[in-house]
């Protein structure tokens, strides 16, 4: 598998580590239902068979965190973007 790092170009998967599914923005710690929200954020996954948004880290490369949309049935990558840009 090759991940197209937006900065480095396509690189072998062995240069990356993944945290797994991107479970959305970190919840508001001050919200009244923060406990429930944090539980879902930390533990629950949609785990779809199909395109899935994931966090990947280019550990042996440019050290960027990426948001990657990858099909879990075929391993084909639909998009890869720098997480910091998506977050802005």
């Amino acid at each position: 598998m090759r991940i197209p790092c937006p900065f480095c170009g396509p690189r072998d998967v062995s240069e990356f580590v993944t945290l797994g599914e991107a479970t959305g923005p970190r919840p508001d710690p001050a919200a009244p239902d923060a406990a429930e929200k944090f539980f879902a954020y930390a533990y629950l996954r949609s785990n779809p068979a199909g395109p899935s948004e994931e966090h990947w880290y280019h550990a042996l490369g440019c050290r960027s965190w990426l948001k990657v949309v990858r099909d879990t049935r075929t391993h084909e990558i639909e998009s890869a973007a720098l997480a910091r840009e998506g977050a802005r």
């Binding site: 598998m1 090759r2 396509p10 072998d12 998967v13 580590v17 945290l19 970190r26 919840p27 710690p29 001050a30 923060a34 406990a35 944090f38 539980f39 954020y41 930390a42 966090h55 880290y57 550990a59 050290r63 960027s64 965190w65 075929t74 391993h75 084909e76 990558i77 720098l82 997480a83 910091r84 840009e85 977050a87 802005r88």
Partner: protein, 989 residues
């Protein structure tokens, strides 16, 4: 040496040179260009080994990697390679091979008595018996089964050869160098595209080496030579010979194995045995050809029964044959072409049997004209002879005819090599037109051509190659004018496969795993009808050739029994590697001492010069202790080091701890969010202990972080977690809070850092630094930090302590690290300074009650470790919310306390569990476990840290430290975890 079966001329051999080799200890000779199989055959050796289950005599059945029978043990000593297919071994000088699965020899094999029990040993018999008595399985049955199973024997010695890994890129990868592959490579290469062509054989040409076709009015092998020359002349072409593409992976990545030195007695100087290539290709042309299919009839495994295409290879390419009285049993036109070649080579043919009623005259005529008996609409039902083939029975119109022959060539059409096309999940589909499974959905970027795509005729292969090579290159933007397609005739290639012939003897479907037609019938009766069930129940297709000659036939038999079509039956799943690949090749160079890279500190050489024993700390090597002359065991050295630190001063390399520099306007705010305690309020020039949680509220890491400037912090982490913490911080910054003005980089490599600890540490630093820096308590109190220059070398100084002593850590750029430790030791000499290692470091921190790796085990909360008070209530931080979950705040959770043996002579061990004094040793009574222990010179006895239920409330109580795996059971007193200087006075002195 005489080679009785070598034809007097022909063949692609270098007859001027002779190569000698031995098989089962007997010497033989062959020529460069031979394989082991062809050389054995030329020497009249056709009985090569015995079969797996029934120990039936077996010979040479094919001429390639699909060989099920001719498995030998190649080489000897530590280079011994069991189960090597003689058909794929390029002959080399002094080659040594031995037969397998037979004793004392293939001819006289004792275990052939197994054949007597054959009626019992049917597919799946072991599931039905050997159940009684239960204990006999491990004692009696299993050992016997294990001894009988497995073919060859491993040397049990370390492999002496080395292996390389390499990566190559290309625009077009061509797999296979037959007519299809060569023309494809040529067409693609002429566009200027980067082309790699991989051929597993040692010669390019594929079937053209075995079949005397004409291309562009020249003999096919001359055409091959011409193409090879042109390809070699093109700068962007790489030709990988002896290289099997074995796997297709995601993103256009292919695995290929180059057998660099396997054709030599041993690898040359600086040469690996094999090189594992990872090839990244934008497009791929699969031109792997096709494999001929056998036919299932009685005795179809006898030595002498051979695939017709293989016989053609042996005759034409290797100028040899397995016998002198040859018969054919065919269902395809291609079989007749082979028969014609055999005739041309001057070998006598007894008979050609074709199951088809009608065969073109052009095919039969040359044979009948030569006086060969031809029988159409007939079948071979049984083959006989022991050990090799002696005669066959042919059935025609319910009459049985007998023929004395020693070779029977079978031809039943071809299976395109679809293996690689399925590695990413594509499923082959049955083509009625080809009478075979052809590729279904292909991996992205791949195209199959030639025989691999079910296009069997030569002209079609050449056409497809030229076309595919050009189109794929042009997809990538490489254009060229169309070139003429090499001219050749399309040979006839009709086939009407016959899967099964009524017979009397044993008829094999999978020859290597001894799976018979009867086993398929039993599987059907017992409900194992799905192709995967058939495979798993009977082991059909699970041998070293992975069903290349057997799977489709087995499926055909099952389809026939169940009334399903081939299409409904489908194939079993193909998996990499397409051909077996040595584990060592996958492992590559990263083995032995180089299994993982070793990280060295700048002070490494100095440490070794000074008696250090080193220890792995993750990938780092750190001094464990320093042996002084006269010391005989580690305990003595470590105790001396600890005592010296407590009484005077010691120096310890702490460079491997993670160091991360964090800059920016929001650096403080950022640290507030990743640490449980406050850092934005830390004054410049100060350091603070920090604790980090994971988002689930469990402790991630700890360390001190110092503020060197208004916008500059340096964080330290544990050695083992340095990478993990860096990744975590990057995540927090890049993903969670990119709006913060923070910049960070690991500076672990940049700084060599030594801890200088003990009451005389200040003296040592004063001596070292002189008036470069004032280290007095007033100028530089506990938890101060500073940066200054020593000449033009920057120095960082921290007043922090892991040992509980008055202590400093001093850091310089690592290029000066070696010099620093030497200077430190010189400065410390007059104060009795000693270096200390990680063992003493451990003793000192346990005595001080500091937690470390054994306590930060990913299962403990801050409160468990007695650090609950550090959690700031004034701010949010990673892990705050989930740390409040009920089970994590349960007062019953074990918490950190100290332990001392009640009998001070007793030793403690970590990993022991705590039980109340009178309690029975049961799970219900388990109250926690010991995390760290040490002999404490300060306490004069062993001391420990551990997690005990309600620990803090039980100081003064006695409990048992129960350690049955080491036969330990020690009564211990629960004490404060801080054994030295509980008020922390020393730190401030």
């Amino acid at each position: 040496m005489s080679k009785p079966m070598r034809l007097s001329n022909g063949g692609l051999l270098d007859r001027r040179r002779e190569i000698t080799f031995t098989f089962d200890g007997k010497p033989y000779a062959g020529h460069p260009g031979d394989t082991l199989a062809s050389a054995l055959m030329a020497n009249g050796v056709n009985l090569v080994g015995r079969s797996f289950k029934y120990h039936r005599p077996r010979g040479i059945f094919t001429a390639g990697p699909e060989e099920p029978n001719a498995l030998v043990t190649l080489r000897n000593g530590s280079r011994r390679e069991p189960n090597t297919k003689a058909t794929t071994v390029e002959l080399f000088d002094r080659l040594v091979a031995t037969s397998q699965n037979c004793w004392p020899s293939p001819r006289l094999d004792v275990l052939s008595v197994n054949q007597l029990f054959a009626p019992l040993f049917v597919g799946g018999f072991y599931y039905k018996t050997f159940m009684w008595p239960a204990s006999f399985w491990e004692k009696v049955y299993e050992p016997a089964i294990r001894r009988a199973a497995g073919l060859g024997m491993v040397s049990r010695l370390p492999d002496p050869d080395h292996y390389e890994h390499a990566t190559a890129y290309c625009d077009v990868l061509v797999v296979g160098s037959g007519p299809a592959g060569l023309s494809a490579a040529l067409a693609a290469a002429r566009t200027g595209a980067r082309v790699i062509i991989c051929e597993e054989d040692f010669r390019l040409g594929g079937r053209l080496l075995s079949e005397p076709h004409e291309i562009d009015s020249m003999p096919a092998i001359d055409w091959v030579a011409r193409v090879e020359a042109e390809l070699t002349s093109l700068p962007e072409v790489r030709i990988f010979r002896r290289t099997s593409v074995f796997g297709v992976y995601d993103g256009g990545t292919y695995g290929a194995l180059e057998r660099v030195s396997d054709h030599l007695p041993q690898p040359g100087l600086h040469q690996p045995r094999q090189r594992l290539w990872q090839i990244v290709a934008r497009r791929t042309i699969n031109a792997m050809g096709a494999i001929e299919r056998p036919i299932v009839f009685g005795g179809n495994d006898k030595p002498g029964v051979i695939l017709a295409s293989a016989l053609r290879t042996y005759v034409n390419r290797f100028a040899t044959a397995p016998g002198r009285k040859i018969a054919f049993f065919v269902t395809s036109d291609d079989g007749w072409l082979t028969a014609q070649d055999v005739l041309k080579a001057g070998l006598p043919i007894e008979i050609v049997v074709d199951a088809r009623a009608h065969v073109a005259d052009a095919l039969t005529r040359p044979l009948s004209r030569a006086g060969v008996r031809v029988l159409l609409d007939a079948v071979v039902s049984d083959a006989h002879g022991r050990p090799g083939l002696k005669h066959i029975e042919v059935r025609k119109d319910d009459k049985i005819l007998q023929f004395e022959v020693d070779v029977l060539a079978v031809s039943n059409g071809y299976n395109p090599q679809v293996g690689l096309t399925t590695h990413l999940g594509g499923k082959p589909v049955w083509s009625e037109e080809c009478g075979a499974f052809v590729p279904g959905e292909l991996p992205p970027g791949m195209q199959s051509i030639g025989a691999a795509a079910g296009d069997f005729a030569l002209a079609a292969c050449l056409r497809a190659g030229m076309q595919a090579g050009r189109t794929l290159a042009s997809d990538l933007g490489f254009a060229s004018a169309p070139a003429a397609v090499p001219r050749a005739d399309d040979e006839p290639c009709a086939v009407s496969p016959v899967w099964y012939v009524e017979h009397r003897g044993k008829a094999f479907v999978d020859q290597q795993n001894d799976v018979t037609a009867k086993d398929v019938a039993i599987a059907n009766r017992e409900g194992f009808r799905a192709v995967e069930h058939l495979k798993r129940y009977t082991t059909l297709g699970m041998a070293t050739e992975q069903g290349k000659t057997s799977s489709v036939t087995g499926q055909a038999l099952m389809a026939h029994l169940t009334g399903r079509t081939m299409h409904q039956a489908g194939t079993t799943r193909f998996r990499p590697p397409h051909v077996p690949v040595a584990i060592g090749a996958f492992a590559g160079p990263h083995v032995g001492k180089h299994f993982k890279a070793t990280r060295y500190c700048a002070g490494h050489d100095w440490a070794l010069e000074n008696g250090a024993t080193m220890i792995e700390a993750g990938q780092w090597l750190r001094p464990r202790w320093f042996t002084k002359p006269g010391e005989t065991d580690w305990f003595e050295s470590v105790t001396r080091e600890v005592k010296t630190v407590r009484a005077a001063v010691g120096i310890c390399d702490v460079s491997s701890l993670g160091k991360i520099e964090i800059h920016g306007r929001d650096a403080g705010a950022f640290l507030d969010r990743v640490y449980v305690n406050m850092f934005s309020t830390l004054p410049v020039g100060k350091a603070r202990y920090g604790l980090m949680l994971r988002e689930d509220g469990i402790v991630l890491d700890d360390g001190t972080t110092a503020r060197l400037g208004p916008e500059q912090y340096v964080m330290s982490t544990t050695t083992g977690n340095a990478g993990k913490v860096m990744q975590h911080l990057e995540f927090c910054h890049q993903v969670l809070w990119p709006e913060l003005d923070v910049a960070m980089a690991s500076v672990t490599e940049q700084w060599t850092q030594y801890a200088v600890a003990g009451p005389k540490s200040r003296k040592v630093l004063e001596t070292l630094l002189g008036d470069r820096f004032d280290v007095s308590n007033e100028a530089f109190p506990f938890l101060a930090c500073a940066e200054f220059f020593w000449g033009d070398v920057p120095v960082r100084l921290y007043r922090i302590s892991f040992s509980g002593e008055l202590a400093y850590e001093i850091a310089v750029p690592a290029n000066y690290g070696d010099s620093l430790i030497r200077a430190l030791m010189r400065a410390g000499a007059e104060f009795g300074a000693v270096p200390y290692g990680s063992e003493a470091l451990g003793v000192l921190r346990i005595e001080k009650g500091h937690v470390s790796v054994p306590e930060l085990n990913g299962q403990t909360t801050a409160a468990d470790l007695g650090l609950g008070k550090m959690l700031s209530k004034k701010k949010d931080f990673i892990g705050r919310v989930l740390a409040e979950r009920p089970a994590l705040t349960d007062p019953d959770r074990p918490s950190l306390v100290g332990f001392k043996p009640v009998d001070p002579g007793q030793r403690l061990r970590s990993g022991a569990h705590f039980l109340a004094i009178e309690a029975a040793a049961t799970a219900e009574n388990d109250e926690g476990y010991m995390t760290s222990v040490t002999y404490s010179p300060h306490a004069g006895c062993w001391v420990g840290l551990g997690l005990l239920k309600h620990g803090a409330a039980r100081i003064g109580e006695y409990v048992r430290a129960y350690d049955p795996v080491r036969e330990g059971d020690v009564e211990v007193e629960v004490v404060s975890p801080i054994f030295v200087d509980p008020e922390g006075k020393w730190l401030h002195e």
